[in-house]
Amino acid sequence: MPLLWLLLIVFAIAAFGYVLGRRRALVSANRDARHLHSLPSYYGWNVALKTIIPAVMLLLVWLLVQPIVVYNTISSSLPSDLVDSASSQGLLMSEISRVSDGLSTAVSKGVLSEELAASSSLDAETATAQLKEAGAVVTNDITAPVLSAAQDYRSATLSGRWIMALVVIIVAFAGAIFGLSQSNKDFRARNVVETVIRYLLIGAASIAILTTIGIVFSLVFNTIEFFRLYPASHFFFGLEWAPSFSGRGGSSELGVLPLLWGTLYISIVALIVAVPIGLFAAIYLSEYAGPKVRGFAKPLLEILAGIPTIVYGLFALLTVGPLLVSVFGDGGVLGVNWQGGGRAVMTAGIVMGIMLIPFVSSLSDDIINAVPQAMRDGSYGLGATKSETIKQVIIPAALPGIVGAILLAASRAIGETMIVVLGAGAAARLSLNPFEAMTTVTAKIVSQLTGDSDFASPEALVAFALGMSLFVITLGLNVFALYIVRKYREQYD
C-alpha cells in the first residue's frame, strides 16, 4: 500500500523536522530556553505542522482530482464508434476501469508480468484468460480497443500516483525547510502554532456544515437527474408504485403517495402506542415515584432506547408478526381473518412504538421537570389533589413542549428504516386495513438501491427523490418541534 508508506514518510520527515527545529531554536539562544520567545517544543511543532499540513492537503486534493482527470482524458480519447457500439459512455468507462483494476490484480498476483500488462503486444484473448485466472471480475471477453484503453487508463493512474508521491514528498521537504529557517530565538513560534491549531479546530467544526452540504448535494443532483427521466408530477401525485423489474424503465409507475401513506399510517400506529405509555411513564416517574423506583425503572426504560433497530426489526418479523397472525389471522384466537401474513402495518407500528417509548418519556420528563415548582405549590395550596394538579396545571403548562416531543418522535418514526424493512412488507398500497402489509419511503429507498438495477435508471434514481422527500419532511418536523420546545422553555426561564 504505497499510500500508507507515503503518509509514513511524511510523518517521518515531520518528526525529524520537530527535533531539528527545536534544536535549532535552542542553539540560536545559546541552549538557554529562557531567551526563547516560546517554549522549545513550539519551534518543533512549527516545523512539524508546516511539513504535514500542506503535504497532506495536497495528497487529499490529488487523490480526489486525479481519478476525475484520468477519467475525462480517457473517455474523450475513446474512438467514437466504440462508444456507439456500447450502450452508454458510462458503462464503457466502468468496463475499462474494471479491466484496468483486473490488470493490476493480475500483476500483483504474479499471473501477468508488469511489462506485458503495459505493453501493446498483450492481445485481448490472453488478457481475458489471465484476468479470469487471477480472479478479477471480468464479465465478458475483452475487446482489443477496450484493452488498450484500459492499459492507457492503468498507466495514467500509475504514473499519476508516482508523480503524486514525488510532489507530496517535495512539498513536505519544502515545508520542513521553511519551518526550520524560521526557527530562531526571536520567532513567535507559539503564536504561529496556536493560530494554525485554531484553524484546525475551525476546520473540524466546519465538517458539520460540509456533511450537510454533502447530503443536500448528493440528494439534489440525483433528484434532478431523476426528474429529467421521470415526470415530477407523476412522482408527487401518482397513486401507484410499480417499478418495472427489468431496470429499463418506461413502464414503471413511481408515485410517492402510497409510500407516504404507508409511512404515515405506521408512524400513527407507533405514536398511538408510544405517546400514552411514554407520557404516563414520564408523569409517574417525575411526579409520583420515589427515588428508589426511579433509580430502578429509568435505566431499564433507557435500555429500550439503546437496543439497535435491527433487533427491533427481527423482533417484529419473527415474534410480533406471528403473534399478531395467531390472534387476528386465519384460524386465530378471535376467529377473524384480518391479517394475511406476519408483515403488516400493525407489526411494524407496535414494535416502532415500543422503540419510541423511552424517547417520548425522557423528553416529556425533561419538559415536566421544567414546569416551575411554584405552579405545583399554588395548585396544592388551593386543595387540588396530585392528579388534578397534573391534569389541570402541569399538562396545560407543558403542552407545547409535549407537542414538540411528539413531533420529534414522529420524525424518528418516519425516518426509521430497519423495523419497516423487516416488519412492514414490500407491497405499496393505499389501504385502511392496519393488518395489511404496506411499505414506507425508507423501505423503498433500501430496496431500490440494493437491487441490481443500473444507477442511471429511474428505478434507482427514484431512491434519491424519496430520500429528498424524507430529508425535507424530517427536517421540517424537527425544526418546527425544536422551535416549539425552545419557545416554551423561554416562557419559564
Binding site: 473540524a204 409520583y288 389533589t385 433500501v446
Partner: protein, 442 residues
C-alpha cells in the same frame, strides 16, 4: 327567637372531618386511578423489555449449539490406497464410514437398518469430509480418529424439538425412517449437541448451508469500522467541541455550525447511507462494501452525538480552572489543552464510547453502501486489507440472515443479536465504570 333556633339546627346531618364525602371519595378514586395508569405504563414498558429479552435469549441460544455425529473411525493405509484407486472415491469413504457406524451400533446394542442415502440425508456427504481429512493428515492413517460431522439443519431442528414426529412432513431431505435412525443414534450417543465454536469464529456460508454460518468475519468487519469511527470521530468531535465551546465568537458562522449539528443529529440514518453511496462510492470511487466506507459514514453519523456530549463535559469544568491557568500566564490554547481538556476527558470518553455503541448497532446506512449483498466468506488478509477489502458487519450480517429464505438462518440471526448485544453491553458497562470512577463533581 325562632330565627335563631332555625339557624342553630343544621339542615344537614352533622359530619365529622374523618368522614369522607362522596365528592372527596370520587376525587381520591380518580387520584388512585391516575396513579395506576402511570404504574401500568411503566409495567407495560418493562413487560415489553422482558418479552424482547426473553425472545432473544430463547431463539438465539440454539445458534450456539450444533448437532453433530460423533463417530470413532479407523482407516488403515490399505483402505486409503484402495479408496483412492476407485472411480467414486468419496463413495468408498462413505462405505467405510457406514461400516464404522454399524460397528458402533452393535457395540451399543442397537439394531436399526440404514443405508448410505439416509446417512447422506442426515449428515450430508460424509465421504468428502473424511477424504479431505486423510489427504491432509496422512499420518493419522491407521490410528483411531473421532470425527464430529455436522448434522443437517433438519436433524438439528428435530433434536432441538422444533418439530416432532406428529408435525413432521416427509420430504426428500428427510424421511420418516430417518427419524428412527436419528433416535437410535441419540440413544447410543452418536448424535449429540456440542458448543458451536464455528458460529463465533467462522465466516458466513452460502444460502444453502445454514449450519456452517458464523459471525466471526463480520465481527472483524465491525471491528475495523469501529477503528475508523474512533480515530476519526474522537479527534474531530473533540476539536469541533473545543472550538465551539471555548473559542467561537458569537457570530453567524458559529450559529450556522450549531444549527447544522443539531439538525444532523436528527437526520434519519438512511440519509447518511445515501450520502455515503453518492459521495464516497459514486464520486470518490472508494471500494464498495469496505469497512473504510462504512466507518466514514458512521463517523459522520456519530459526530453530532460526540460533539454534544463533549460540549457538555467541557461546560462542566468550572471557569475557575481556566482563570487560574490564564492567571499564571498560560495562553488560552494552553489553558484549554493542558487543564480543561484533561479534566473533561472522562466525560468525553464516556460520550465517545456511547456514540461508538450506537454506531456499532446501526444498520440502515450499511445496507446502502453494499455491506449486505456481500457474503463474507473469509477473514481479510492483513491489517491494511481489513479496511479496504469487502466485508460484512455484525448488524448487516444479521440482516442478511434474516432476509434469507431458509428459516434455519433465523436462529443464526438471533444468535448474532446476542453477540451484538454482548458487545453493546460491554461498551456501555465500560462507559458507566469510567463515569463512576473518574467523573468529578465540582
Amino acid at each position: 327567637m325562632s330565627d335563631a333556633s332555625m339557624n342553630t339546627t343544621p339542615s344537614k346531618a352533622k359530619t365529622s372531618l374523618a368522614d369522607l364525602s362522596d365528592r372527596t371519595r370520587r376525587r381520591n378514586a380518580a387520584e388512585k386511578r391516575f396513579q395506576a395508569y402511570g404504574i401500568g405504563a411503566i409495567a407495560i414498558s418493562l413487560f415489553f423489555l422482558i418479552v424482547l429479552v426473553f425472545s432473544i435469549v430463547r431463539s438465539g441460544l440454539p445458534a450456539f449449539t450444533q448437532t453433530v455425529l460423533d463417530v470413532e473411525f479407523v482407516l488403515t493405509e490399505e483402505q486409503f490406497n484402495d479408496a483412492e484407486k476407485q472411480l467414486f472415491k468419496t463413495k468408498a469413504y462413505s462405505g467405510y464410514f457406514n461400516d464404522a457406524l454399524t460397528a458402533q451400533f452393535t457395540e451399543a446394542g442397537v439394531s436399526v437398518p440404514f443405508d448410505a442415502k439416509s446417512i447422506e440425508r442426515i449428515a450430508g456427504k460424509v465421504g468428502g469430509t473424511i477424504r479431505e481429512f486423510y489427504r491432509e493428515n496422512p499420518d493419522q492413517l491407521g490410528q483411531p480418529t473421532s470425527f464430529q460431522l455436522a448434522a443437517s439443519s433438519r436433524v438439528d431442528a428435530y433434536i432441538n424439538g422444533r418439530f416432532t414426529r406428529d408435525t413432521f412432513t416427509e420430504s426428500r431431505f428427510l424421511m420418516a425412517a430417518d427419524l428412527d435412525l436419528v433416535d437410535a443414534m441419540k440413544t447410543s450417543g452418536i448424535i449429540k449437541n456440542v458448543f458451536n465454536w464455528n458460529f463465533i469464529t467462522g465466516a458466513d456460508s452460502g444460502v444453502d448451508n445454514p449450519g456452517g454460518a458464523g459471525i466471526g468475519a463480520s465481527v472483524v468487519g465491525s471491528f475495523f469500522m469501529m477503528l475508523v469511527v474512533l480515530f476519526l470521530s474522537l479527534p474531530i468531535g473533540v476539536a469541533a467541541s473545543i472550538y465551539l465551546e471555548e473559542f467561537a465568537p458569537k457570530n453567524r458562522f458559529t450559529d450556522l455550525i450549531e444549527v447544522n449539528i443539531s439538525n444532523l443529529a436528527a437526520v434519519p440514518s438512511i440519509v447518511f447511507g445515501i450520502l455515503g453511496l453518492a459521495v464516497f462510492i459514486q464520486f470518490m470511487h472508494l471500494p464498495q462494501s469496505a469497512p473504510l466506507v462504512g466507518g466514514l459514514v458512521l463517523t459522520l453519523m456519530t459526530l453530532p452525538t460526540i460533539i454534544i456530549s463533549t460540549r457538555a463535559s467541557l461546560q462542566s469544568v468550572p471557569p475557575s480552572i481556566r482563570d487560574a491557568a490564564l492567571g499564571i500566564g498560560a495562553s488560552k490554547m494552553q489553558a484549554v489543552f493542558h487543564h480543561v481538556l484533561p479534566l473533561a476527558m472522562p466525560g468525553i470518553l464516556t460520550g465517545t464510547i456511547i456514540g461508538l455503541a450506537q454506531a456499532l448497532g446501526e444498520t440502515a446506512p450499511l445496507l446502502l453502501i453494499g455491506m449486505v449483498g456481500f457474503v463474507a466468506r473469509g477473514y481479510p488478509e492483513g491489517f491494511v486489507n481489513g479496511f479496504v477489502e469487502p466485508n460484512s458487519a455484525m448488524p448487516a450480517q444479521i440482516y442478511t440472515w434474516a432476509a434469507r429464505a431458509d428459516a434455519s438462518f433465523y436462529d443464526k440471526a438471533w444468535g448474532g443479536i446476542i453477540i451484538l448485544l454482548i458487545f453493546l453491553l460491554t461498551m456501555n458497562i465500560i462507559a458507566i465504570i469510567l463515569r463512576r470512577r473518574f467523573e468529578r463533581r465540582w
